[in-house]
């Protein structure tokens, strides 16, 4: 039993240190390089910045309307998350709390979405968005985020609803509360952990989405951050300093949020997979 223990622990630490370095190194490199001048990046790609300069950020912000991209991303992400929370709360409340014969089928239909590669429906979606007049509208992205966020959110919320006791709800009903009131005042406040998970999962997905804005948004000022960054690469591919600054700016909001609530982030993103 004791043999092996002597070398096993150090070996474990060696492995996790190595992998952690590989995981973090590119991100640290990206942030550090964004403070370097392009010349320094060529001459000394591995070294620390010799002097912290915000030049790259100034150049970048002069070249692209980053504030607009940022606000577009923020608007799309927040509205998508709110819509998902609203429609999925209503639907999962129905599926988990009321016993109708079609509930099971309904739940299955929603879950099916997790196996559907929605990218493959992009041609009909393109035509649909065009006919709805939503091309180059941020609402096309909001609707897509909401629709694609529904399956996993339904799974999480329905699972959580099922674990909750009925008694409180019954008490409210005897006092004459309607369905909406029960959901809003009694059930949802108890659901905060599950709602937090749903918010985080969908916020990450909406913030980082690239495929749908690539197809639906062609107007420069309507771009979200990922597509804005993509165009930056095409237009200014020689200016490495600006590129690193752009990548850093695109990632910073999520990284900062992660530092504030890393546990919730990690539990949130994996909650759907583990039941």
């Amino acid at each position: 039993m004791k043999q092996g223990v002597i070398w096993v622990r150090p070996f474990y630490y060696l492995v996790v240190f190595t992998v952690a370095t590989i995981s973090l190194y590119p991100i640290v490199l990206m942030i550090l390089s964004s403070f370097k001048k392009s010349v320094d990046i060529y001459k000394n790609p591995l070294g620390l910045p010799t002097s912290f300069s915000l030049d790259t950020y100034r150049t970048l912000l002069a070249k692209i309307p980053f504030t607009t991209y940022f606000l577009n991303s923020l608007f799309v992400s927040i509205v998508s998350v709110v819509l998902i929370v609203v429609v999925c709360s209503l639907a999962s409340f129905y599926i988990a709390r009321f016993k109708f014969s079609w509930n099971h089928a309904l739940f299955f239909i929603f879950l099916l979405g997790m196996m559907i590669p929605i990218k493959l429906g992009i041609v009909p979606l393109f035509i649909l968005m065009r006919d709805l007049g939503l091309m180059n509208s941020l609402w096309s992205l909001i609707l897509m985020n909401t629709a694609t966020g529904i399956p996993l959110s339904m799974l999480i919320l329905t699972g959580f609803f099922k674990t909750m006791p009925y008694e409180l709800e019954e008490a409210a009903r005897i006092d004459g509360a309607g369905n909406l009131r029960v959901l809003w005042h009694v059930v949802l406040p108890l659901m905060r952990p599950a709602l937090g998970t749903v918010v985080i999962i969908n916020f990450i997905a909406a913030w980082n989405d690239f495929f749908f804005p690539l197809i639906f948004i062609t107007e420069k000022m309507k771009r979200t951050i990922p597509v804005g960054m993509m165009s930056l690469f095409g237009e200014h591919s020689a200016d490495w300093g600006s590129l690193f600054a752009g990548l850093t700016l695109a990632s910073l909001p999520m990284i900062l949020l992660f530092f504030i609530a890393s546990k919730q982030f990690m539990e949130g993103l994996t909650a759907g997979a583990i039941k």
Binding site: V16, P45, F210
Partner: protein, 315 residues
């Protein structure tokens, strides 16, 4: 009098509640139906028609499918991309999930700094795939990318390469970048799996004298089958959908020379690029490809789930 009217109004409200409850799932159903279910069904129906640009022409049965598989360059492009998707899946299963399993096991052993390591492994998952692609494109750049510089510092100049420019290494480089991106997620899933194993089982096995490798094979591995299945299915779906990373790093042609092409990139070219000879049949062919890929993923995933359920029952 007062009491009676309150009672009847309560009854009325109850009836109303019973009726309005059916409105609750409707908003979700509408959005989900319109933007997830409809497009998939429509894409399948599109595949049976002739297309002139964005305009639908005559019903032509399976002609698009026949063209897709038998007419060049589509046929060879399909199998070329399909092979790449298979490699995507296999490498991610072995390298990413294998490593994630081991890392999950190490963290499960309650090492110091577990929270830090978990966060470190997971952090890349928060970046947009586009950022991941560009970032690694810079790191792998043959002239100034830091990977080659690091290799030089380590005295491994012979290993220096134009990683993304060489058809021999480009695809594997992209797949490994994807492993970098998804590793932390796998670690968390496997860690949760390990933590879900009843400790009595492990203790009992240890008392019976099982240790090290035997313990892993006889106790941990069988009990981890559900987590392995989950990661397997998620990795499978994600591998056969792979688009963003290839597009960001190698463009819509899967450069160099289609050596990094995937089915989703090929599909994007068919649907939105002008890669077809005439440009006229693009949507029909694209829809046929979408249908094949969709059915493939659905059938494989369902079979996989069936198999997984059976396994569970046996245990």
């Amino acid at each position: 009098m007062m009491r009676e009217s309150t009672a009847s109004s309560v009854r009325k409200r109850r009836l109303w509640a019973r009726w309005t409850i059916h409105l609750f799932p409707i908003p979700a159903l509408i959005v989900y139906g319109m933007f997830v279910l409809y497009p998939i069904v429509a894409a399948m129906s599109y595949s049976f028609f002739e297309w002139k640009g964005m305009a639908r022409g005559d019903f032509i049965g399976l002609q698009n499918f026949v063209t897709l598989f038998t007419t060049e360059p589509y046929g060879s492009m399909f199998w070329n991309a399909f092979k790449h998707n298979v490699l995507y899946f296999v490498v991610q299963m072995v390298v990413m999930n294998g490593l994630a399993f081991f890392l999950g096991f190490i963290i499960y052993q309650k090492i110091k700094g577990a929270a830090f390591f978990k966060a470190a492994f997971f952090l890349p998952r928060l970046l947009s795939v586009i950022v991941v692609g560009f970032l690694w494109k810079l790191i792998l750049n043959p002239n100034f990318g830091t990977l080659n510089v690091i290799l030089e510092k380590l005295g491994l100049e012979t290993l220096q390469k134009a990683w993304l420019g060489d058809p021999g290494t480009a695809l594997i480089a992209i797949i490994l970048v994807n492993c970098w991106f998804g590793l932390g997620f796998g670690v968390l899933i496997f860690l949760a799996g390990f933590q879900g194993i009843p400790s009595e089982l492990v203790e009992a096995a240890k008392l019976d004298g099982a240790k090290g490798f035997t313990l892993l094979c006889t106790i941990y591995l069988p009990l981890m089958v559900p987590s392995i299945m989950i990661m397997g299915i998620l990795t499978f779906i994600q591998s056969f959908e792979a688009f963003e990373l290839v597009y960001a790093m190698q463009g819509s042609m899967g450069e160099p020379y289609y050596s990094t092409d995937t089915l989703a990139v090929f599909f994007y070219r068919l649907a939105f690029g002008s890669s077809t000879a005439s440009g006229a049949t693009a949507i029909g062919l694209g829809s046929a490809l979408a249908t094949v890929l969709f059915l493939f993923i659905l059938v494989c995933t369902t079979l996989f789930l069936r198999f997984a359920n059976k396994k569970d029952v046996q245990m």
